[in-house]
Subunit: 197 residues, 2 copies
DNA sequence: CCCCCATGTTGACACTGTCCACATCGCTTG
DNA sequence: CAAGCGATGTGGACAGTGTCAACATGGGGG
């Protein structure tokens, strides 16, 4: 099969190659030209799809958040109707995402500081899912009412994010047993402690 | 004053210049040669003090953890004898450090993945302080006894680290009032929830 | 059917990290 | 107190990088 002059789907190929390179070496020190070579293309072809290296990285981060949002939706769909179970499902999904794709996770969190103003595409939607689910819980009356859904969402996020970070950083082992145990601990901490009515 | 051939304290100067550059642009994209220029020295002088760029970064991370450890000690010294107050003081110190020096904080957490095996110098000592303080609390009987001091320390760390991360990332505003409020919330969460006897 | 424009290529430039051989100093030792 | 040696800084070189500009190609809409 003769390689066509036009690659066909270079953008996709480049993004995939980038993720693969991340996973392979565990750092973000890959090079644009390297990516181009991996895709079997000249060092300048990527510039037809990304304005520069920074934009490619941003695209990767976006995709990460979209994937996370998808995983969150899936876990919600499997969680049934109990509001508390639904919140728990989101936490589990987050933790699992962080553990299964640590490179991507770290890339996503590696924002250039102060970035609440211009969040990456997808980040907002991931956070929105959490907020909506906590809004459900709020309406169902299983959490305190004097905090907004957003505040509750941030608290829950902080909780699970702290654990995820430490696991990804290797400070806390991430074996299945521990993940389940800490997941439950976080659940009670959130519902009996922080969000208690 | 004629610039001497031998700079005198280049290592220090380079590290300081690096921190300054971080703070100035908010990303780790500085260049070794740039650093050398800022220090008024040839592009190769840094190699007499660091094997390469990676080693310089690692030195920076080390210094960050040492500074954090120092801040922790100071806050302990001012905290009196009550074990609970002492733990709380450490949490506050962590949060304050993250907020006051977000660049450094992000650099420190930016480890090359899986790094529990070869932690940066200083990281261990910072963690040790927390562990010791929780050991005190454990001996004083104000926390549950079925968790080791290390486990308690990690739980406390996860808690405060989650909040710190979100604040540094700009997701949660870091004004004084909120910091105090969340600090108190974390304290009760930890002592009444996670670590309750 | 043809031609236009999105996609890919070639060539160039300034700059980077790092290696090497050499220059300059200041501290130790006799 | 001299000398010289090791630590520190210099200058030049090289391959590789990000990015720009000009050119080539060919598939899909008129």
């Amino acid at each position: 099969m003769p390689r066509a002059y036009h690659h066909g789907n270079l953008r996709r190929t480049l993004l995939d190659a980038a993720v693969a390179l991340f996973a392979e070496r565990g750092a973000f020190d890959f090079t644009l030209r390297e990516l181009a070579r991996a895709a079997g293309v000249t060092h300048n072809a990527p510039y037809r799809h990304f304005a520069g290296k920074a934009e490619l990285l941003e695209a990767l981060r976006s995709e990460g958040f979209l994937a996370l949002a998808e995983a969150a939706q899936a876990s919600l769909a499997a969680a049934g109707d109990d509001p508390r179970k639904r919140v728990r499902a989101l936490g589990d999904a987050y933790l699992r995402f962080a553990i299964d794709e640590p490179h991507r996770f770290r890339l996503m969190l590696h924002n250039p500081l102060g970035g609440a103003d211009d969040p990456v595409v997808g980040q907002a939607s991931a956070l929105a899912i959490l907020k909506d689910t906590l809004e459900e819980a709020r309406r169902a009356g299983v959490v305190r009412q004097d905090l907004s859904a957003r505040e509750l969402a941030l608290a829950a996020w902080a909780l699970v994010h702290g654990l995820s970070s430490l696991m990804v950083a290797g400070q806390i082992p991430a074996d299945d047993a521990r993940v389940r145990r800490y997941g439950k601990l976080l659940e009670t901490t959130f519902f009996e402690g922080i969000a208690r009515r």
